[in-house]
């Protein structure tokens, strides 16, 4: 591989290479009309070649920026390679972004072409066309609803591809010219621009070279022994670096098969059908899966519930140790085997994890309980710490060295250091070229000698593993001087299936307080079982019984916090259940579903004031944005709950996670 990678220094070259050596092996699948359709590597090359030459006819040339707007469709993934083969640069965009956000990215990236999934995306682009003078042509995948549109600058994918096919048929030289174009590509050239959603300010365009993405992908393959036999499900946003490495970089370098789901809603079923061997997900996905399991178990017969509870106990006792290759008593080993037959196996099957070789959670810290839950079921779930600026990999947990509270050891070829204020820095071949048209930001993030600031506070523990505490700038102090780590508190709350989202406040204030979003699926189910009628999220959130349940959860978190010396001061004194779900459309969450704390604090200022007063309820009016961009207003009187505070139990040191 090492000698080869000298010649194979771009993705189009890898495509040619894979089409040759894996020829008839499956490269991609897509579920359409209820049936999985597949393409071999040879098919794939043919599709991409025709499409690429068709794009060339439209005017895509070296250096052109081509925006990708849409979900995980084969044709969108093909666009990456088709564009790169022409020396142009793909710029995937979060397809769910609101119009202005998308417009900013397209404008900033100077995109002259766009590939859209369907009418919805085309409409979005057309609506901002006047402000995007650079944008010349739009290609779309799904024809529905677009037939009567003006097709001057709008093109059906099939037509573009057919045009390429026609050129190839008419001109015998065309194929060679295309290959020559690919051969001219160099590893140090710009490969892709990924816009980070950024919790503050405008998104920044991270420029990654082929060398960056290729080396990271190959190292990733090496680290987990991934090869052409893997099958993965592509379901994360194309614009997220994780998906780019996992569904594109590693796909081309390892030569494995990428499966595209039928629709965003069918992912659970599609995953069960595919049973991927390699799986990559932000913690939220694991949280949601766990919630759905718990909801199903609540509905199950009492026999099933008892069996589940019993064997989950067994799994918690011995599952992880077994997975780490540790020793377990014979009785537990037998019980675990029985549990595997009765509970874990069927559960893994239900989750589509039967063939899982390695799974990663990344993007945010995962609740240790959630993490252990999956591992104890026998799934090799690991944590990874990465950034767009690093082409993903900074640290990852090696097999057998899994601690729920660390993110692992430095990845292959990565150097780590911690600076004086606790911020984590790294240097690696994956380190980005710079932010597009933003020298200042590049300079403040990347040092002269190639070190990158992560913005996260952390430390390296005794085992050489990195531990992340929180965003460096987020870890705050309460007025009494005790430490206030908001994300730590939020993650503890989010462990409860009933709590979907939590936002903690306390920096520079007298005590901690939280906003809570209930999980509509979980709480809704509970309400149905208890004959509690509700018409909306708002009504359910405000129900006294719901408040009581949430209060119990918060109380449990306070008990936990009180047991940790450093955190005891951060116990939650007051909380409220928000009257609306936090929503990326309203700017309350980032596109990767992280909470925007300061924005929320500003938006719900009256509620925060109330949390730090002695009021028991507060009236609030909020502007909301519907999916189609219309605006409306939501008004509610939100109740506030008071909590009991426990004494710090300093004599109870947290036991370190026992090594296997």
């Amino acid at each position: 591989m090492d000698t080869e990678s000298k010649a194979l220094d771009t993705f189009p070259k890898y495509l040619l290479h894979s089409a040759e050596i894996y020829a008839q092996r499956p490269a991609m699948r897509h579920k359409n009309y209820g049936v999985w359709q597949s393409w071999s590597w040879a098919d794939l090359l043919d599709e991409i070649r025709c499409y690429s030459i068709g794009l060339q006819q439209l005017g895509v040339q070296p250096g052109s920026r081509v925006a990708l707007v849409g979900g995980n469709r084969p044709r969108l993934y093909w666009t990456f390679a088709a564009v790169q083969a022409l020396g142009a640069v793909p710029v995937p965009v979060y397809s769910e972004s609101v119009a202005e956000e998308m417009q900013y990215v397209l404008e900033h990236a100077e995109a002259s072409f766009a590939m859209c999934e369907d009418q919805e995306q085309v409409d979005k682009l057309l609506s901002m066309a006047d402000d995007l003078p650079n944008l010349k042509h739009i290609v779309y995948d799904e024809e529905r609803g677009l037939r009567d549109y003006d097709h001057n600058r709008l093109h059906n994918f099939s037509n573009v591809q057919q045009q390429g096919r026609d050129v190839l048929a008419a001109d015998p030289e065309a194929a060679q010219r295309w290959l020559d174009g690919i051969a001219a590509g160099r590893g140090e050239e710009l490969c892709v621009m990924l816009y980070t959603s950024g919790t503050t300010g405008r998104p920044k365009g991270v420029m990654l070279s082929y060398d960056n993405v290729l080396v990271s992908s190959i190292n990733g393959n090496k680290f987990d022994n991934l090869d052409h036999t893997e099958e993965v499900l592509a379901y994360l946003p194309l614009a997220w670096v994780g998906d780019h490495i996992f569904s594109y970089g590693q796909f081309l370098t390892a030569g494995y098969c990428v499966c595209c789901p039928e629709s965003a809603e069918t992912i659970d079923v599609d995953r069960r059908e595919i049973a991927p061997t390699y799986f990559f997900a932000p913690p939220r996905v694991f949280e949601n899966l766990l919630t759905s399991i718990m909801v199903r178990m609540d509905d199950a017969s009492s026999l099933k519930r008892k069996m589940f509870a019993y064997f989950m106990d067994v799994a918690q006792r011995s599952g992880e140790t077994l997975l780490n290759g540790g020793k377990v008593g014979l009785a537990d080993r037998l019980l675990y085997g029985l549990g595997n037959l009765l509970v874990y196996g069927p559960l893994r099957n239900r989750l589509g994890m039967t063939r899982l070789k390695v799974g990663y959670t990344a993007g945010e810290a995962i609740g240790p309980e959630i993490f252990s839950f999956y591992r104890s079921l026998g799934m090799n779930l690991k944590q990874l710490y990465g950034q767009t600026e690093a082409s993903v990999y900074v640290t990852a947990q090696p097999d057998g060295e899994i601690y729920p509270d660390t993110v692992g050891t430095p990845s292959i070829d990565v150097e780590l250091s911690i600076d004086d204020n606790g911020e984590v820095l790294y240097r690696s071949p994956g380190v980005f070229m710079g932010y597009y048209k933003n020298e200042e930001a590049t300079r403040s993030t990347k040092t002269e000698d190639g070190w990158v600031r992560t913005g996260d506070a952390g430390f390296i523990d005794g085992n050489g593993h990195l531990r992340i505490i929180d965003r460096a700038k987020d870890v705050g102090k309460l007025n009494d001087g005790s430490m206030f780590p908001p994300k730590y508190i939020e993650n503890k709350l989010k462990f409860f299936p009933n709590i979907k989202e939590a936002v903690a406040f306390g920096d520079g204030r007298d005590h901690s307080a939280v906003f809570i979003n209930i999980d509509l699926v979980s709480v809704g189910n509970w309400a149905e079982r208890n004959n509690i009628a509700y018409a909306s999220y708002q009504e359910l959130a405000n129900h006294p019984d719901v408040y009581k349940t949430i209060q119990e959860h918060v109380d449990q978190v306070n008990r936990d916090l009180s047991k940790e010396e450093l955190m005891a001061g951060a116990q939650i004194r007051r909380f409220l259940v928000l009257h609306k779900e936090l929503d990326a459309d309203d700017g309350e969450l980032t596109r990767t579903q992280k909470v925007r704390r300061s924005f929320i604090a500003e938006r719900y200022e009256p509620l925060i004031d109330a949390l730090y007063s002695d009021r028991t309820e507060q009236y609030i009016k909020t502007e909301v944005v519907f999916e189609d961009g219309r605006r409306g207003e939501l008004a509610a009187t939100v109740k506030i709950g008071d909590m009991q505070i426990y004494d710090a139990a300093a004599d109870q040191p947290q036991p370190l996670q026992a090594s296997a």
């Binding site: 149905e528 004959n531 509690i532 009628a533």
Partner: protein
């Protein structure tokens, strides 16, 4: 293994086999109940009627011979030929389908949208009518039904299991009637093919659709009357299978229609709307009554098989009125 234990196994096995028979009859009930909400009291008589018809056709009997002879003073009873078993079965099936069409034309059509109790009464009338019709057509004497099914104990099974008993225990191996084994196989095939039919064919879907919602079924163009004919024909077919099995086992006679009454507790156990329920319910009753007779029977003077099923059904009515698999009564807010 102790002989007692082995006898228990034998009792259970025989109970299962008897249960299959109950299941077959119950299946016919469920089909009609699901599709039209009618509790078809005549299901048992249909089995009897089908068995009588089969025997009659097979032996070349002249239908209504007594009537004809009485009216015309003739003395004909037989055509003087016999019909091969398979042919006779097919002809019987044709009769059952004709019967289904007649029931729809003459009875159901006029009773659309009537109270369930009225429909139930109509099926009682139907039962008596068919019973009389059967006697009139084929005579009321006990008939033997033989379509060449194997019968008698399975020697193979006896030999294979004779060694299980302890030395000198007097255990001669498990005894199971071959006919019962065949009946089980037939019942199994019947249930599987009915399931496949209802899942994967247009008519099967239409049957389920009608069972689910009449108005909606009409709106997609399904003719309820046609579906009722089909359901009654299928129920007739199932009745024929049950009739053949019971008839081959214990002769074709009036008491055959009484097994219909045994199907009632089966339905209470299994739920009136569940096909798997009918099967499991039948098996539970079959095994239950045989085991009860074997273990408790001797203490209380035997003959418990006559009432055990009904007592069990009563217990179920108290604790789980919707049956094991029946539609759960859920109240949604």
């Amino acid at each position: 293994m102790s002989a007692n234990f082995l006898y228990t196994i034998e009792v259970i096995l025989n109970g299962l086999m008897a249960g299959v028979m109950y299941s077959l009859v119950a299946l016919g009930f469920v089909l009609i109940f699901k599709a039209s909400g009618i509790f078809n009291y005549a299901q048992g008589v249909m089995a009897l009627f089908a068995a009588m018809t089969l025997v009659g056709i097979q032996q070349g009997q002249v239908p209504f011979a007594h009537l004809i002879n009485a009216a015309f003073g003739t003395k004909i009873h037989h055509f003087g030929w016999t019909v091969p078993a398979l042919m006779a079965i097919l002809l019987t099936l044709v009769v059952m389908i004709l019967f289904a069409i007649l029931v729809e034309r003459i009875v159901l059509k006029h009773l659309v949208n009537q109270e369930p109790i009225i429909l139930f009464m109509a099926t009682i009338g139907l039962a008596y009518f068919m019973e009389g019709m059967g006697d009139l057509m084929w005579g009321s004497e006990l008939k033997t039904l033989d379509i060449g099914l194997p019968s008698g104990g399975s020697l193979w099974l006896e030999e294979a299991t004779v060694g299980w008993g302890a030395e000198g225990s007097g255990f001669y191996g498990l005894f199971i009637d071959k006919l019962d084994i065949v009946a089980t196989g037939v019942a199994l095939a019947l249930v599987i093919s009915l399931t496949l039919f209802s899942q994967y064919t247009k008519t099967g879907r239409a049957l389920r659709a009608v069972a689910d919602d009449h108005q909606a079924a009409l709106s997609v163009g399904i003719s309820l009357r046609k579906i009722w004919v089909i359901v009654w024909a299928i129920a007739g077919f199932v009745a024929m299978v049950a009739g053949i099995m019971w008839g081959a086992k214990s002769g074709v006679q009036f008491s055959l229609s009484l097994i219909a009454l045994k199907a009632l507790p089966v339905l209470i156990l299994g739920g009136f709307t569940s096909i798997p329920g009918a099967i499991i319910g039948g098996l539970i009753i079959g095994v239950g009554e045989k085991l009860f007779e074997f273990s408790i029977g001797p203490m209380i003077g035997g003959a418990t098989e006559n009432w055990f099923a009904y007592v069990l059904a009563l217990v179920f009515l108290i604790f789980r009125p919707q049956g094991l698999f029946g539609d759960k009564i859920i109240e949604r807010v």
